[in-house]
Symmetry: C2
Subunit: 400 residues, 2 copies
């Protein structure tokens, strides 16, 4: 196997790593799928925003730039990362709040249907929301059982779908296993059953190329603080296919989703287009940082990003086989079925994670017994992966 | 009448103005009730956050500080500005989303009751939300008609309340007139009828002292980008009285409102206490700036802030009587009934506002014919008010 330093030397994207804060420190950061590193230029972007834009333009900033920013950034995410034509994507609220709005909207688009389908290993917030939406709308949940090392296949979904299915809620990349779902195939299956699909793209956007329009996707939501490096709690994005925009209605009827926010009229009428997904005042300060990463991703292109991502995850899997034979790979070994992270299982991984953090090696832990290595394509080096896995070896040895 | 420069010279808070970005520029800013000016230290706070906290602590920042920040900041807002004991206030989401959650929660706390009471001049997002919540929960709206120059009085509220009232939604300071509602009195009236009150504090917090606990308030929401200077779209706060915390349930069941977010268990159980109002990942970057203003308000105290606020609004009203006799004051002349802004009506105020903006005098406009002067107590000087009103005079003269 090629050594880490040779792989880094051959990596055509290696120079991008220097653009991120802290990549020159000894810290090994393997949790970019929880929170991406900031770009160095982001510090200056935020401070000049305070002084030159907020401080100088004041309320005029809304007319000049901020009011359009949710749609401008949405279009940019759509173009760079989602394979989505303009006018279908918007930034605002948390992933959770946007998922809630789109779940409610989807259920309303399928009156008479009584079930929401999702898998038991979907991300907790998705499951909790679906449970709440089902209860308040008088629907039931149909659960798909998946192995925690894989995800929802066509066969599993087909068995769960019926003429009662209103909505299928799926993660594109599973948060534990990194299982990469078949976006086009599962969407088609659901459509054949007359159901809508709501994709959670949180663990794929910015690391796996997406093609929402080509999938004939209906609805999607994704997170911007992982592979889009928007900073802790940065606002999420929502996608609604153009063909649904006229009908989609979400329940949080606020002024910014209204047809004319400053008419301040007596009653609410939803804005035309994707703007109707908004509710309150757009979180502008939180939307600043992601612009730096989107510019980079646009420059590089998602195919090259994916190639690096696969290089990193393949390297981690290969080296784990050598260095950590007592662990099992809980992620798909087939690269075509794998997102941007790798999970290694071992009964003592909770202790291992704690010990690693103490020596400035920072992966994540997910029950049961999963050491989750999030490998950000542009800021993670092969050497960083190597040092991380060697540290796992040392910790496992020290635990005896 | 004392001249503006003498009032500024006598103002014990005058030195605080220098702490804000742009107060040394010729710009006259009279819209701090839409978007407060940034403090100069905020630029450095945001840039060092990127480099030293997000960039250095990375995912560890959640355990070390960020996970607690919604409650820590909520407690600080409660202590400094709301008259609320700790454990009842939390920061997260937009004002609109928090209003939605608390409206839904309130309606669920009054089963069998069928009406939401609010006034026709309440802020649009409040009215639109109430309309949507009423429809989805099978309730009706009972509207209070108010004069656009005043607000909801005890008599008006008493006439609207009945044994059918589940919830009353009130603004503490009316967004157009600056009418200051009687927090304690109206809360008591609603309670006597068995209803709950949801206060929107957006136009009062940081300019008018509040005493939520002393009012026996139930629920409240407020904005942090006006008089708390949190920056455009900064996240809002929600208050739930301690006596309601065990029963209150909101519909957006996300992981951050769950009892153990990282248990990632099969089903949602709401967290104990105010944490259950959260849904998604807290918007940390958007929560940074308000800390600088909260520190100042805590140092100065809300009584001194209110005194300056009343000085500014009284001065504006007195000078408008001299300089702008053709305008009418659409705000209460009695200072005890007035919040932190003053609205002057004239049929041509829309044109006037446009002309003022072109000469770097920035008030706001609100239909019908209202020039709204938002006077931020710590960043607005008497001289700024004087220059603004003289500019209005010149523009009115030039319009002929």
């Amino acid at each position: 196997m090629t050594a880490a330093h040779d792989l880094d030397a051959a990596d055509t994207l290696r120079s991008y790593r220097d653009l991120f804060v802290g990549t020159d420190s000894p810290l090994v950061y393997l949790d970019g799928n929880s929170l991406g590193r900031p770009l160095k230029v982001t510090a200056e972007r935020l401070s000049s925003f305070v002084t030159d834009e907020w401080g100088d333009r004041l309320i005029r900033g809304w007319d000049e730039r901020w009011m359009a920013l949710p749609r401008v950034l949405g279009n940019e995410i759509g173009r760079v990362a989602l394979g989505a034509a303009a006018g279908q994507t918007i930034v605002g609220d948390s992933t959770t709040v946007l998922l809630y709005k789109l779940m409610r909207a989807a259920v309303a688009l399928r009156p008479g249907r009584t079930e929401i389908v999702l898998d038991r290993d979907n991300f907790p917030t998705d499951r909790y929301l679906a449970d709440g939406v089902a209860r308040e709308c008088g629907l039931t949940l149909t659960w798909i059982d998946v192995d925690t090392t894989s995800g929802v296949t066509a066969d599993l979904l087909a068995a769960a779908l019926s003429e009662r299915t209103a909505l299928v809620v799926l993660s594109h990349v599973a948060y534990r296993s990194a299982w990469l779902a078949d976006g086009a195939g599962l969407t088609r299956l659901a459509h054949d059953a007359g159901a809508l699909v709501l994709w959670d793209l949180s663990h794929s956007v910015g690391s796996v190329p997406l093609a929402l329009d080509a999938w004939d996707a209906d609805l999607a939501v994704g997170c911007t603080y992982k592979y889009l490096n928007g900073g802790p709690g940065a606002p999420a994005f929502a996608y609604v296919a153009a063909r649904l925009l006229d009908e989609v209605v979400q329940p949080i009827q606020g002024w910014m989703g209204a047809a004319d926010p400053f008419l301040m009229g007596p009653s609410y009428a939803p804005a035309p287009g994707i703007q109707r997904i908004l509710s309150g005042t757009p979180p502008i300060v939180g939307m600043l940082a992601m612009q730096d990463m989107l510019a980079l991703l646009g420059e590089i292109g998602m195919d090259a990003v994916r190639e690096k991502s696969l290089g990193l995850t393949s390297y981690a899997i290969d080296r784990a086989a050598d260095l950590l034979p007592e662990t099992t790979v809980a992620s798909p070994v087939d690269p075509m079925l794998r997102g941007g992270h790798v999970t290694l299982n071992h009964p003592r991984m909770r202790e291992v994670t704690q010990a690693l953090w103490q020596r400035d090696v920072v992966p994540d832990f997910r029950d049961p017994g999963g050491l989750r290595l999030g490998l950000s394509p542009l800021s993670t080096s092969y050497d960083e992966v190597e040092r991380g896995l060697r540290a796992v070896r040392e910790v496992l040895d020290s635990l005896g």
